[in-house]
Every structure is written in C-alpha cells, then in structure tokens.
C-alpha cells in the first residue's frame, strides 16, 4: 500500500521536473530497478553475482540492434530485451549456480567479461567501440516526460513484482535455501531449480533496465557489459542497504545525485565514491535504508515512552 503511494507521488512529481531532472530521475529508476534485481539474488538467496552487467548489456544490445538494424519500433523491443536477457541468464545460471559461493561470483564475472569482449571486438555486428548510436525513440517515446512515465511504470511494475515474490512461497523457499540448503532440500525444495529461476528473473529485470537505459542515453556501448556496470548495482545496494526492500533503489538515487554533485565540483569522483563506501561499510553496514528504518523505529519508541509517561 505504501509502495503505491510512493509511485503516485513520483508520478505527480513528473511535470515539476526540468528536462535535466526528468533524465536524472529516469536514470535513477533504471539503476534502481537494476539494483533491486541484483538484490533479489543477493538478499533472498545469498548469491553474489558479479556479472549482472551481462544481462544489463544483453537487454541494451537487444533493444539497440533491433531498432538500428531491424528497424523495430522501440516499445516492441522491450519484451524481447526482457526475454533475451532471461535466456542469457538461464544459460549462465545453469553453468554457474552449481558452483559454490566465490566460484559462482567469479564465473558470473567471467561470463560478463566474455560478452564484453564479444561486443567490443565484433565490429560488423555491434559496432565495437563506436557502439550503436542515434537510438532516439520515435515520436512521443522520445520526449522526456513521457519517457519518465514509461520508466516509472516499468520500475513500479518490477518493484511490485519483487515485493509479491518476497511474500510468496517461492520467496520463503529462497530464504530457506539461504539459511540452510540441506534443511530446505529435506522438506522437498529443489535448490538448483529455485536458484536458477531466481537468477533468470534477476537477469530478465536487469535486461529490461539495460534496454531502458540505452534508449534514455540514445546509444549503447560495450561498457554496458563491462564489470564496472556490474559493480554499479552492487554499490547502489551497499549504499542503500541490502536488508531493506527499497534499499537498492534508494542507494541508486543517492549514487546518481552524488555523482552529479561531485563531478560538477571535482574530478575525483572515484576517490570520493571509494571513501564513501568505506564509511558506509565500516559505520553503517545496513546502508541508508537501514539507517532510516532505525531512526524511525527509535522515534516511534521514544513517542511511545513519552505517551506512557504522561
């Protein structure tokens, strides 16, 4: 219910944003969706994927290639971007989920870097380093306010889906697997099947985010598949707090705002980001979202105490 109010507020905010504000907000929703998709794996199953860029990039390239080479209308490419990323995740997940923890993380990273190399070297198909440009969606889809609503709608849809997932038996099963895999299998949960499905859902949503980002930027480059792109969703999640449902989306927004502010004033964004992450991990491991929840609950307790005292 509270989520719906949030989406309504964001929708009402739309017309008040400047052109630049709309772009920034759209980007925040996209990165937010991407980070929340990552956190489905990280929080619910305990799997640390360091290759989410593979799916982000697959989605983006699917959209870009269909538009630029196939002449498809932009909206029609979104379901396909979703599907292709899901298939990519099915393949990569099938091979990596068998491995435990650190090997899983390394293998996802390796697959993403492999795709990056392909996109980078295969000039004839992907345009290599030059990327695929001039992707402005036609007509109203290319207008910032309309696009803001498109992105907000899909973000809301994705978030509600993840919310429902967390409260479904499938969500319980994922957390049961994270808590204790053998125990979960002993009550008849197929660990591999469940983890693979979670991986595919996460990959598909990441791919959707990638396609939206490509259209927002009007271009897709190999760096959509580069490992720094995988790091972005992890950074946003750490910043916002992986233990809070909306944490990754909050982290994504703060991440983008900080980048704008810092880059306007200094050249040292990576340094600043590193220092900030160090502070977060050392002093606020629950992230900004966790911090906010803690303060809210403390205030609530304070009020109760005040009420009982009077």
């Amino acid at each position: 219910m509270r989520l719906l109010w949030l989406f309504l507020a964001l929708a009402l905010l739309g017309p008040w944003f400047s052109e630049y504000g709309l772009k920034l907000a759209s980007e925040a929703f996209i990165l937010g969706l991407y980070a929340m998709a990552f956190n489905l794996l990280f929080r619910q199953t305990g799997l640390l994927s360091f290759g989410q860029a593979a799916f982000f990039g697959l989605g983006a390239y699917t959209m870009a290639l269909l538009v630029a080479r196939g002449g498809w209308p932009f909206p029609a490419t979104l379901p396909l971007a979703f599907l292709i990323s899901a298939l990519g995740a099915l393949f990569i997940g099938f091979l990596s989920i068998r491995l435990s923890r650190i090997y899983f993380t390394m293998l996802t990273l390796a697959f993403a870097q492999l795709l990056y190399a392909v996109a980078h070297k295969w000039y004839a198909f992907t345009g290599g380093d030059n990327g695929i440009t001039d992707l402005r969606p036609p007509g109203i889809w290319g207008e910032s306010l309309f696009y803001y609503y498109v992105v907000l709608f899909l973000f809301a849809l994705g978030v509600l889906f993840l919310w429902a997932l967390e409260r479904s038996p499938f969500g319980y099963a994922l957390r049961a697997l994270r808590d204790n895999r053998a125990r979960a299998e002993a009550v008849g949960i197929n660990a591999f099947g469940h983890l693979l499905l979670a991986f595919v859902i996460s990959g598909a949503l990441s791919g959707l985010a990638g396609a939206l980002q490509g259209a927002l930027q009007r271009s897709v480059f190999p760096d959509y598949l580069f490992w720094t792109r995988s790091a972005e969703c992890i950074l946003a999640t750490i910043l916002g707090g992986s233990g809070v449902f909306l944490g990754p989306a909050i982290g994504a927004t703060v991440f983008l705002l900080l980048r704008v502010v810092v880059q306007a004033n200094t050249e040292y964004w990576p340094f600043f980001l590193g220092a900030l992450l160090l502070l977060m991990v050392l002093f606020f491991p629950k992230g900004l979202g966790g911090l906010a929840l803690e303060m809210a609950s403390r205030r609530l307790k304070g009020e109760r105490r005040g009420a009982s005292g009077s």
Binding site: Y172, D179, R183, V187, G188, I189, N190
Partner: protein, 228 residues
C-alpha cells in the same frame, strides 16, 4: 512395507560407518533405532534421506529404490526428515517456516495450529528466537507440512526438558494413531518404550538386537548395549 533397507554399507568419505544393516518399517508402525552415541543411528537415518555416502546395499521406500535419488526428490516422494540439530530457518517466521514446506495433503497450517496451539501463538516470531522445545515442535510441524508418508525422527528428545519430552511423546502417539509409519533414533529408553512397536539396537554400525519393544525393554543386553 513402507521402508526396507537391505545390506546397507554407508558412511562418510572412504570410511563406512554402517556395515550390512537390514531393517524394515511396516505401514503404520513406529520403529526405534537404539544405540549409544556413534553407534550409527544418525548415519542410518541420513542414508535413508541420501545425505551420506552409500557404498552398497539397498534403500527401498514402498518398493521403490531410493539410492540414486537426490535429497529433495526423496522428500517429495513422502519421506519426512526431522534432523537432530533441529535447525529451523532462523530468518523466517514460524508461519513462514511452515508455509515453505507445504505440500497438499492432510496437514495444513490450520491443522498444525490445532495440533500445536503454541505455534499459533508465536507464528510471527523469527525461528531463531524460539526456545529449544519450540524449535523441536516447529521442526516436526514443518516436516508434517510436507505431508510425509514416512517420518524419520532423529533424537527428537535430545536435550529437552521432561515436560517437553512428554509433549513430544503425545505428538508422536497422535501421529502413530493416524497410521503414519515412523522411524525413530533415540537414546531415551523411557520415551522410546512409550511410543515404539519394535526396535533395532545398533552398535558400531551393526544391528545387534531386534525385536518387539516390550520384550527389549526387559532384556539386560539392551541396557548393556545402551550403557544405562
């Protein structure tokens, strides 16, 4: 016949713990595995679930060979396993712990809460915050939610207060009354005497004695084998 184990050699790594074990659990029967720590009771139950290495022999459930099936498939076929370390899912609430295991059948949330009202009272508490007795109740209840056709209980009374042991005996008898076959590993002879029909006494991975529970209760060798 619910469960038939023949010529089972099983253990860990290269080392067998069980040697040529033969055992049967008939439909509707409660069978106890008695023996000291290290006698092989837990290994035997784990072998039925496929959690240890089986070197040779057969584990058949309702006539179907299980040896090559993974753990979750055995659970889906109707084997309900209650481990001895009674580790529930600490991050899930009591209710979620139960729902995660649910499969269609006689047992559902409502039935479980009727049988164990205490769980209803604490349904929104995280599993990790329960007392030992509550955790044991929840572990058994969670296994019932899978609607098992054969229940494997590994030392359900270990480390529990006498009152809680009584409660578990009541629960086991109730399940027995419904005709659910149970294989029970235990060291508590009093508890076992209350609930079991037959028993096997294990020592160093071999079956030393078997028979009706009532007879075994009065035999001195049993007391000797259990070192009571």
């Amino acid at each position: 016949m619910s469960l038939r184990i023949e010529g089972l050699r099983a253990g860990y790594g290269e080392i067998p713990v069980l040697h040529d074990v033969n055992l049967e659990v008939r439909e509707g029967e409660v069978v106890a595995l008695l023996g000291r720590n290290g006698a092989g009771k837990t290994t035997l139950i784990k072998a039925v679930m496929g959690m240890v290495r089986v070197f040779s022999g057969s584990v058949a459930y309702r006539g179907r060979e299980l040896i090559h099936l993974p753990l979750f498939r055995r659970a889906q076929l109707g084997l309900g396993y209650v481990p001895d370390d009674r580790r529930i899912f600490p991050e899930l609430t009591v209710r979620e712990n139960l729902l995660v295991a649910q499969r269609p059948g006689r047992w559902n949330l409502e039935q479980i809460y009727r049988l164990l009202p205490r769980l209803k009272e604490i349904e929104h508490r995280k599993g990790g915050l329960l007392s030992g007795g509550e955790q044991q109740m929840l572990t058994i209840a969670r296994t019932l939610m899978t609607n098992p056709q054969l229940l494997l209980l590994d030392e359900p009374t270990e480390g529990l207060a006498p009152l809680v042991v009584e409660e578990i005996a009541r629960l086991v008898l109730e399940l027995k009354g419904e005709g659910l076959p149970i294989l029970l590993a235990e060291q508590n002879l009093k508890f076992t005497g209350q609930v079991a029909d037959r028993a096997y006494v294990l020592e160093t991975g071999e079956v030393r004695l078997e028979g009706e529970m009532e007879d075994l209760l009065h035999r001195e060798e049993v007391a000797a084998l259990l070192a009571l």
